[in-house]
Symmetry: none
Subunit: 202 residues, 4 copies
DNA sequence: CATGAATGAGCATTCATTCAT
DNA sequence: CATGAATGAATGCTCATTCAT
């Protein structure tokens, strides 16, 4: 209390998270030492432990925060309609754009699930399932209403997520196509894959 | 190759590769020590260096061999037709089945690209591009012949590869659907995504 | 001493000493970090440095205070007689009871002499020698007066001190024998060891 | 097998034990780092782990070996008689001499019990109890035969062990008294403490 | 009087690699 | 063809201590 709230400490924690996202995305969790991370932040390695009790806890915290943000963002972006084609179109567009904008966080969430302790993994897996559930629900509704044609909802959901997420593996800023164009393409592929004859608009 | 066929050495090298695939798939490249690998093989750590000059070379060799085998397998599996729909259908089915059958090798190839030295990475990346080129060619031909409708061939190729490869992330032996059924679903999703009105056969 | 009696600081210092005695007795001096000690006291680690300039100084202060208290207590407990048997009996009883009552402090003084800096050790060793001198004097007097029979006064003094102090290593509260009974036994062993035919009284 | 049995490895392990005894006796278990120990041995720190999987295992191994050697030595030294006074005399003399000769090992066993993991401690404590049982048996027999007079056998056993062991805390080579003289004194104190009018022989 | 942020040195342990045998 | 001993660098983490606030 003798100290101003929001002072150095808060800034340092943010700096750690920021540096960690970049380094881990580039070199992998096991490929980034606490020393290297500290150096990127501009502090000593010991200082990191004021903010995260272990390297593992840092990873879990980053992944948890990312998944929560992803889910929240989708809930806010989701249009207030119950037209399945509109919802699917919005989901595809949202997912692709989000994954292009937050490439590093997304990449870490995919690649480093295996670096998570058995203690931390279930929470993150559950959050991921929660997000995938959003797509599954849209597909199920579309099938129920007869506007989507798909042989198997769960497999299709996984297939579409994989397809949309894949944008992170090849897309680089300044490429041939802008983010808008890329999102358009993925959205159309998605709708076509389930036989939804929808018009795709920005 | 300079080695007498059938000698002890050949057997040991195969045992190393086999153990390495399993361990690296499970724990990641950085998560497997040479000691642990040696233990799984049943030799001393020093022995590994008789077969691979460095841990890095072992990884590169494994990935190279895997990519070559993947490409060869496709070339052998590819039907002798120039009907784009038939080719795309065959490619989708082949890719999904191959990825289900050789889950560990495939997983390593995806996850451990980043563990590759700058010296070794380009070769593997080139092989991967070569494989992706097969799909791109099929798509381009289909578009040219007017049987596929897709807004952008390169992006669609990447999207489809990601979708098909995604099967490795969720499918586990003994699940609800058999490999045949899963391959059917993915094949149909693929054809639909490019608007090919094709019949899917076993 | 320069501190206002009854102020917060005095209380904090006492709390530090108290917590330190318990923790160091249980985990050893090197096994207790300043953070852990601070936590037990309910302050931040930095605060400890307001009361003791270093961890080493804290240890030295604790040991010094303990030895002074031990010596003072004996001087107050010592009967006003010059009957060697009565004095030896009183010493044995005092020592055993004191060591049972202040097990933690005593334990630390024995175990942690080696953790003391070369700068601090001599003072504590001297205090200990001073205390042992009390026993030596009693023994010497008893031998001079012909009531004790012992082959060597200094060795006997060390032997008896070790024997009496040993009570701390096995005795636990609520055991088979009460403190009174234990003190009786040790006192009698002491007197017998030097051939003093003395009656042992409470 | 390609390597001579009893070669470097055996020598190195012995060197580690030897250096460890000396360093731990002088600085305490927690006060000796693996680096410092390695330096004393003349190897790199990592090498120590070829011989002991953890620092803790090294300690446990040392203590176990010491206790076994102590018990074995006493069993070999124990005279083939059932005269309690002769046995007690022999035990006192043996214990004092052994403790003077192997001061470091003995000291570690006393001081570092608390550094032992909960997993390792019971074994060592049991060995110690086994040794103490030897003295208890002698005392009980002497009391049964009416040649010892003592108020309580278990307490007396602990008291005598503490007294005899105490020699390690003050005795230094080249002191006023030789080992023989010191052993004589302790033996006589021991016999007197239990009222055994025995002749003490070399 | 006390906090909270940070340091820099140190710790136990693991690792890829080398090499005499 | 393989071993077993050793290296030297690195890793995650802890610690006593400092000091601006």
């Amino acid at each position: 209390m003798a100290r101003t709230a929001g002072s150095e400490g808060t800034k340092t924690e943010a700096a750690i998270r920021e540096a960690a996202v970049e380094l881990i995305a580039r070199h992998g969790f096991e490929g980034v030492s606490m020393r290297r991370l500290a150096e990127a932040v501009g502090v000593q390695a010991g200082t990191l432990y004021r903010y995260f009790p272990t390297k593992q806890a840092l990873l879990a915290s980053m992944m948890r925060e990312h998944m929560r943000h992803l889910i929240d963002s989708w809930r806010r972006a989701r249009p207030a309609t119950d037209d399945p084609a509109a919802l699917l179109s919005a989901f595809a567009r949202f997912h692709v754009r989000y994954h292009m904008d937050r490439r590093d966080e997304v990449f870490i969430n995919y690649m480093e699930l295996r670096s998570l302790d058995p203690e931390n993994a279930p929470e993150i897996v559950a959050l991921r399932k929660e997000y995938e559930g959003e797509l599954r629900a849209i597909l199920a509704q579309g099938v129920a209403k007869g506007v989507f044609r798909t042989p198997d909802v769960p497999v299709t959901a996984m297939a579409l997520i994989a397809m949309l997420t894949g944008v992170t593996t090849w897309r680089q800023a300044g490429g041939r196509l802008g983010p808008q164009a890329i999102a358009d393409i993925y959205t159309r592929l998605t709708l076509d894959a389930v036989g939804a004859r929808a018009s795709v608009e920005a």
